[in-house]
Amino acid sequence: MAKKRLQHTGVIRDYDMHSLPVRIGYAFIYVLCFIMVIFAVFPLIWVILAGFKDLKEFMSSTKIMPNAFNFGLFLKTWSQLDLAKNYLNSLISVAGSVVCALIFNGLLGYGLSILKPRGYKLVKRLVMLSLLVPATISIVPLFMNIQRLGMGNSFLPLWLSYGANAMYVVLFIQFFESLPQSMIEASRIDGCTPIQTFFHIVLPLSKPICAVVAIFAINAAWSDFLLPYLVLRGGPLQTVMVRLFVFSTEQTVNADTMMRSVVFSMIPPIILFILFQKQLTENSVSVGIKG
């Protein structure tokens, strides 16, 4: 690593580094980048440190560091709020959401990018338009529909809502369109039905996009709280985020307990981030541009 000569790949080229002003500017770029890192990471570190403070210390201490690293406080919050139950609920909710996100959006994307039956263009345009439509804007009628069908206090509507995500459909479409069409055509000639082609040819080639959609869906489903709150509120199935939302709007817990709940709610996304940071930082790119 150290032996490999690193080259400048940006606007600044290798030969620019001979000039003193450019070198000073370059050092300045690093200073700014490290400031950015501090800004990005400090609040996260702070909230973890704050979790080690009890209420009295949290409300009165004028120090960032806690007096002691007492893990007992975290354990106490965990058992007091019965967060294990909420964690389990969140996991069930996330698992079902990911499955729905992959199957339903994947099949729709397959139809719109490879099968292309007559009239598909209209549907594709509708999906593209839905990208621009804010999700929360129709939350009221959506909630009413769910109520009318008697699906309140159940994970089902939350799972299925991830099967109707225009962004994931577009991601699938873009990926499927980049697949070698000759292979798909060949399987068709060999007598495969569209659904066989999907499972035997398309799906095995699509692991990268499935991973990306799965990671996004896991994080989105974990962090989601508006629809889950409306569907699950008051019931036994509340997720971690729903609990947190209730805490924050009804102020039923103390500020220090709140900070520990925040930490608990961040642990799974952080684990996900550590495991998949490469996929995330590289693929956010294609999502963002098209989304």
Binding site: D16, Y26, P43, P141
Partner: protein, 301 residues
């Protein structure tokens, strides 16, 4: 080639039928969760509602009653104010970050990762975290930090002039890094020979930024700008959790007003839908203006 066309001709109709069958589950879900609720909210805005029932067609009365209240004017102004501040604080920052990180040679991966991290954290948790940051007492984190450089303690979230910029700052903290990565991808796709050629012609680093790098992201910046406006215009849970719309409605947003009508106790779904329809209409107009100018520009190109 011939074989394919023969094959296609034979089973065309059944094949199309099967294709639609494959898409059917996805289409049903899209209809139920996205398309129908959108149309339904237009219909509902014209009705008097009682719980989940549409009781009586009342024309535009919901709209008149919603718009007539002072909190609507306030929320409309606030929402535009959110948008304005997000352009000031949140639009250029990702571009600058992308330029900075893009120039680094060592540690680029580390900087990218750090920049993206806040975007992964749950939005609600981020808001609660920052509310403690901006808390007005002596134990508020910002007050602790500022006291070190001698600035006396302030109250932040109760200052009518400060709440909106603060909420936008928090939203920017979460989103800017992820947006920067999008810009970085666009910047990385610039043909580096252009830089070499410009350098040979005597262009210094700054001139290369102005004449090569920035033009290369112009189109992307336009797209991200409109997406940013659309998303900030629907800002809702941030003020809901951070300030509850206060002080004195100074941070109340339109979508928050919608939530209040629907779920804030009165369960007036008709009026809530009226607010949603107004927001949608404003967004449609803005999108139309954008695509009009965008088209004109590409004609010129």
């Amino acid at each position: 080639m011939k074989k394919i066309s023969i094959h296609k001709g034979r089973g065309k109709r059944t094949e199309a039928f099967k294709s639609w069958l494959i898409m059917l589950p996805g289409l049903v879900l899209m209809t139920f969760f996205v398309w129908e609720p959108l149309l339904e909210s237009v219909r509902m805005s014209l009705y008097k509602t009682e719980n989940v029932e549409l009781v009586e067609f009342i024309g535009l009365k919901n709209f008149i009653s919603v718009i007539g209240k002072t909190n609507f004017t306030q929320a409309l102004i606030n929402t535009f104010s959110y948008t304005f501040w997000s352009l000031i604080i949140g639009f250029l920052l990702p571009i600058v970050l992308a330029m900075l990180i893009g120039e680094t040679v060592r540690g680029k991966g580390f900087f990218r990762t750090a920049a993206y991290l806040p975007n992964m954290l749950p939005g609600l948790a981020v808001i609660i975290l920052w509310s403690a940051f901006f808390s007005g007492g002596e134990s508020g984190v910002l007050n602790i930090l500022l006291s070190k450089i001698g600035i006396p303690k302030q109250t932040y979230l109760t200052e009518a002039n400060l709440v909106i910029p603060i909420i936008i700052t928090v939203a920017t903290w979460k989103g800017a890094g992820a947006t920067a990565l999008i810009y970085m991808a666009a910047m990385a796709s610039v043909n580096t020979e252009l830089y070499e050629a410009a350098a040979i012609d005597g262009a210094n680093v700054w001139q290369r930024v102005i004449h090569i790098l920035l033009p290369s992201i112009k189109k992307l910046a336009g797209t991200l700008l409109i997406l940013q406006i659309i998303s900030v215009f629907q800002i809702m849970y941030e003020p809901m959790v951070l300030t509850k719309g206060g002080p004195d409605n100074a941070s109340l947003s339109l979508m928050q007003l919608m939530w209040q009508y629907a779920f804030g106790g009165s369960m007036d779904y008709g009026k809530a839908s009226a607010v949603a329809v107004i927001v949608t209409a404003i967004l449609l107009v803005m999108t139309a203006i954008y695509s009009y100018f965008n088209r004109k520009e590409s004609d010129w190109d």
